[in-house]
């Protein structure tokens, strides 16, 4: 625009030649599978379109009025119609099965996936690594390592999309959604919000930095805020007074939370559920909906009192509680020094958790 006389057309051609791409980079373990299905679909589309185009063009030439002045009336043909009902049906069924398999591949995280939390808000992505690295509109990940994202929005619908990885998941308020991927090539890839989310929707974009594991380690060590999510969670746990009921004493009012993550618990209504991230979050906000059998419904709701980030901290803390000792320690700490929720006062940083906690 500055150079009014600049050869726009030439620039355009240069741009075309240098930037033209038909496919985004295949940078995840899933991408080749998605592309394979895409090629199959393109293939059947070309066949279908080719068939239609051929029939239309051929008949138009062969049976144009000048060549075929009188039409021959034909009622129809059950056999032919059955053919072009069944062939598309078979192709569509293949597509269905193939698509379903791919879907479950994309949405079923492997058990060894490393978990990263993503909070969407108008109009930015807040990425929270368990080790305490906080990022805005950027996501650093190691390659060759399955990454599971736990996604939640604190306001409207967003959608987390990394085209190079061929994954996308709606980020909705009030509920954890998850998606996973395993990057295969180091590089920098687009991260888009694809669900219209208000005025600056088109600026809710960022970058995914896929790094070699050693680079990632270096980045993680250099970018940590000093407090892991679990440590923040512990502080919040104490300041909200959770440990006054959730402790290891035999007459505690609430269930002991040590090792609760991943276990099967029975609810007051008799159902059994597996404790996962979503369950933990929901119980903090709507305890009565998830009343554990054997306990009185006395837990207050924390709806509106804890931000989504705070909830992530709490979830992460509870997830990593593997002995009652930690909770009982928390009681002592909190008795001595009450800590403000969410704040990170300088001198009171809790001792590091179990060695595995900060590990990416």
């Amino acid at each position: 625009m500055q150079h009014f006389i600049s050869p726009v057309l030439w620039q355009f051609l240069v741009k075309w030649l240098t930037h033209f791409a038909i496919f985004p980079p295949e940078a995840s373990s899933i991408a080749p599978y998605a592309d394979a299905l895409y090629f199959f679909l393109i293939f059947i589309s070309i066949i279908g379109l080719g068939a239609v185009a051929f029939l239309v063009i051929f008949f138009s030439i062969r049976y144009r009025q000048s060549r075929n002045p009188v039409a021959t009336q034909i009622e129809g043909s059950t056999l032919l119609e059955a053919t072009w009902t069944i062939i598309p049906l078979i192709l569509f069924m293949i597509t269905f099965v193939w698509g379903a398999l791919l879907y479950f591949r994309i949405y079923s995280p492997p058990p060894n996936a490393m978990n990263i939390y993503v909070v969407g808000k108008q109009w930015m992505w807040k990425i929270e690594h368990p080790g305490g690295q906080h990022e805005i509109d950027a996501l650093h990940i190691p390659i060759d390592q399955p990454i599971q994202l736990t996604l939640i929005s604190q306001d409207v619908f967003h959608s987390f999309s990394v085209p190079a990885f061929r994954v996308k998941r709606e980020v909705i308020p009030g509920r954890y959604n998850t998606v996973w991927f395993e990057a295969t090539k180091p590089g920098v890839y687009h991260l888009f919000c694809t669900q219209y989310c208000g005025t600056l929707h088109s600026q809710m974009i960022g970058w995914v930095y896929a790094m070699k594991p050693e680079d990632y380690e270096a980045w993680a060590a250099g970018s940590t805020s000093g407090h892991s999510l679990a440590q923040n969670g512990e502080r919040l746990f104490a300041s909200l007074g959770c440990n006054s009921c959730h402790n290891s004493s035999p007459n505690a009012h609430g269930p002991n939370l040590a090792n609760v993550y991943g276990s099967h618990v029975q609810l007051a209504n008799g159902q059994f559920v597996t404790v996962d991230d979503a369950f933990l979050r929901d119980t903090i906000l709507n305890p009565t909906l998830h009343q554990i059998a054997g306990y009185a419904p006395i837990m207050p709701t924390y709806q509106g009192q804890v931000s989504e980030d705070g909830l992530i901290d709490l979830v992460e803390y509870i997830k990593r509680l593997n002995s009652s000792y930690r909770i009982d320690q928390t009681i002592d700490n909190s008795a001595g020094q009450p800590v403000q929720a969410g704040a990170t006062p300088g001198g009171t940083s809790a001792p590091p958790l179990a060695p595995g906690a900060v590990k990416p």
Binding site: F104, Y107, S108, T178, T274
Partner: protein, 120 residues
């Protein structure tokens, strides 16, 4: 209900039966007695559904309440709204409405119910 059918067929005075009406069905006047009996049934069912709701039946409270409501609605549709005496087309119309409503409910509920089955 069957023994109360003292309704008489009553063709409206139309001299030419339109040849355009292959599915023409005569309109039928239902007797007031039928209406009265249906109204009494409806009132009885109202009383019983209220009464039954005070009896502990577990999940069947809801089932019974809905069943009675459906029964009442059917009586209204069949007799007050003359569906019992109407053409197949009108019957089909009612069914299609109920069908689409059920599609809405069941297909939505497949999502809500199976969400609780856990992730894959």
């Amino acid at each position: 209900m069957e023994q109360h059918q003292q309704e008489h067929h009553h063709h409206l005075p139309h001299p030419e039966m339109g040849p355009s009406e292959p599915t023409h069905t005569p309109f039928r006047i239902v007797s007031p007695k039928t209406y009265l009996i249906i109204a009494c049934c409806l009132l009885f069912l109202t009383a019983s559904t209220t009464a039954i709701s005070y009896v502990e039946l577990g999940v069947f409270n809801a089932v019974v309440a809905i069943a009675i409501a459906c029964l009442k609605a059917s009586l209204v549709v069949l007799f007050f709204m003359h569906i019992k005496y109407s053409s197949k087309l009108t019957k089909l119309t009612v069914c299609s409405g109920i069908f689409t409503f059920l599609v809405l409910i069941t297909m939505t509920m497949t999502d809500y119910i199976s969400r609780a089955w856990g992730r894959w």
